[in-house]
Amino acid sequence: MRRDSAGGHALSFAVSDPHGDAVRLFVQNLGHVRGLITGGIAMSDDQERAPHLHVPEPAIRPGGVPDFSHVQIPPAGSVRRPDPGETPENMRDLAFTIIRVLDRDGAAVGPWAEALEGALDDEALRKGLRDMMLLRAYDTRMLTAQRQGKSSFYMQHLGEEAISCAFQTALRKGDMNFPTYRQAGLLVASGYPLVTMMCQVFSNDADPGHGRQLPVFYSARDHGFFSISGNLATQYVQAVGWAMAAAIRGDRHLAVGWIGDGSTAESDFHGALVFASTYKPPVILNIVNNQWAISTFQGIARGGAGTFAARAHGFGIPALRVDGNDYLAVRAAADWAVQRARRDLGPTLIEYVTYRAGGHSTSDDPAAYRPKEEGAAWPLGDPILRLKAHLIARDLWSEDRHRQAEAEVMDEVITAQKEAEAIGTLHSGKRPSPRYMFDDVFAEMPPHLIRQRTEMGY
């Protein structure tokens, strides 16, 4: 023990030990320390320089030509699919590639495509396409409605529809998503009523949340959709807690945390990974990397990490990196992670590589910080067109049916919108009573809130 002590320990040992051994050790250590000091002086070399602050910048800003040559895209079907029970150390490669199923001709290829066989029948594929189209039509109308002053705010999904729409189909009743504001596809794919969503966006009297929350901050417990918070990343660690509760009770439910590339910089992200790593609850941790956090490119949050998926490695959590514009790849990855959770194998982290084709919200103009043509240059294409091409290639769909479906979903949205607007919008019709303001602060209203409500006149 004494001879094995590190320098610091030997020093304190020597002070308290009257015997020669310790003194000799102490002297040896002094010599060691002196050696280090002289070594340090000798080490000064001509490569030494003053530090500089490295501030990452995106490849291109407005006025430049879009360039995604840095996005390494492997061919569809080329990435292996390990058994979900494989140890994390043996599949680190999956965090540095992109799992893709749909190739350029619309064919579903490779081991991840094979794993989907039997999981998605023809009707489910057509429904997948329709869900994405419905979400896009909904977004289009709600954006316009916001510009018309019918709501204060809106956030669209343009280009990212596949991720939430496909992921939802891998879950079952009792599972819980902890979404961000850009996963309404979870609701659309689970059949949540469009009218109710719109009433929330219009903050009218039929909004189940009584108009308290910002537009698009839905809450739908029965649809496995946790109430959305505006404070970024908080939901990530909460999802881990939800899954821990399921594990404590032994309930066969899983939780899904959602986060964007930018918000992975929050401590909540790292806290979530620590707790998921320690307690190994049935949780899936999704990162939607859409390249942009408002005007800040993903490199600012990613820093020196090769990919967002690779963040999981330090926690011993298996990570996949997936083509987020490929409906089938998203579903295949979701199935893999769901299987891990259902077999009590613990957490999985998935990064979806995608592109936010629209603005962050109705409050920003992306042309101010990135080239307008960048979306068109995004190499992973449009998720709707890619699944459409697959269905056509398999003779399950046609251009005519697509046009017809586009008209149908738009009709559905417009009909729902008329119904919602007939109830009210932000500034007209039936709006939530100010009386609601004081409900639900606590289960039982305490005296000071009763006094304040009376003072307000309700």
């Binding site: 417990r221 909460q238 707790f275 602060v441």
Partner: protein, 337 residues
């Protein structure tokens, strides 16, 4: 009935709650095998197993964030933050999340969790082990804030907090854990053993949240205090010989305003006492309410006695702590006013 220290009473409350309800889960740093740095959770893991009482990584954000998820799921997590001073990394999860979940989801999701944390100074804890952050919680809509001053209340209030359907911040004055502290640093610590309130009922009982307690009757003035300061107030009143009523708030939010106004309207003089810093402290809220509700009964301006507006110093702790001498000066001031 048994004699208990406040630590034993808090431990007993955990035991009773966990026996009663399998959904009660205890998590925090060192709370498992070791039983907590103040021993408040000793024996729980042994009795209830590792999935009901377990150690957490050193991440207050993670502890409170995952407890939020557990509470929303339907469990009743009771988490320990080792010192209230360590709470800040988890503050966002308390303020932006736990406090608002019921409101933002219109009751679809709720967060019935208890966050326990030792608070206050008087143990030479310096800047980082002495703070009293109660006003940072009472200022947040959707939180209940509780500060017990004795073993009996600690058990009954903690059981009420665990049963409460909303998030409760439970601040435990660590200077009172082993015995009442009356502010006299030069005297030996008293023991709960000889104290009436060290007699704690066995089994389940609640001290309802939102009810203050008149711990000493009087007609000349009212001192409103909570936690450690209740004992400082009692010592000061005894030493001054004045006829002063002392109220122990027990719960800061919901506040028992009726108890306060009844007393102050009777005595006409009011001192508000807390260990936390003066400016924007909870005493300001009490003083404002008292002047609004009891204005025509007041014979003197409301006086606040509180910690100085500095960080909590280490070697100067005795000078910082609002002890009996300062309270006696305040009593004289309001009686002269």
């Amino acid at each position: 009935m048994a004699r208990m220290t406040m630590i034993e009473a808090i431990r007993d409350a955990h035991m009773v709650a966990m026996e009663r309800d399998p959904d009660v889960i205890v998590m925090g740093q060192d709370v498992g095998y070791f039983g907590g740095v103040f021993r408040c959770t000793a024996g729980l893991q042994e009795k209830f197993g590792v999935t009901r009482c377990f150690d957490a990584p050193i991440s207050e954000l993670g502890i409170i964030g995952t407890a939020f998820g557990m509470a929303a799921y339907g469990l009743r997590p009771v988490v320990e933050i080792q010192f209230a001073d360590y709470m800040y990394p988890g503050y966002d999860q308390i303020v932006s999340e736990a406090a608002r979940l019921r409101y933002r989801s219109a009751g679809e999701f709720t967060c019935p969790m208890v966050v326990r944390m030792p608070t206050g100074g008087g143990i030479f804890g310096g800047l980082t082990h002495s703070q009293s952050p109660e006003a940072l919680f009472t200022h947040v809509a959707g939180l209940k804030t509780v500060v017990p001053s004795n073993p009996r209340d600690a058990k009954g209030l903690l059981l009420a907090a665990i049963a409460d359907p909303d998030p409760v911040i439970f601040l435990e004055p660590k200077r009172l854990y082993n015995g009442p502290f009356d502010g006299h640093f030069d005297r030996p610590t008293q023991s709960w053993a000889g104290h009436d309130l060290g007699e704690v009922d066995s089994g389940y009982f609640e001290v309802p949240l939102g009810r203050a307690s008149v711990v000493r009757g009087g007609s000349g003035a009212t001192i409103i205090a909570y936690g450690t300061m209740v004992h400082v107030a009692l010592a000061a009143v005894a030493e001054s010989g004045a006829d002063v009523e002392v109220i122990d708030l027990r719960t800061l939010l919901p506040l028992d305003l009726d108890c306060i106004t009844q007393s102050v309207c009777k005595t006409g003089r009011c001192i508000v006492l807390h260990e936390a810093t003066l400016t924007s402290g909870f005493g300001a809220e009490i003083a404002a309410l008292v002047q609004a509700e009891c204005f025509y009964s007041l014979e003197a301006p409301v006086v606040r006695v509180a910690g100085w507006d500095t960080p909590y110093p280490h070697a100067q702790e005795k000078a910082y702590f609002p002890g009996p001498a300062r309270v006696i000066r305040a009593i004289n001031t309001v009686l002269e006013g």
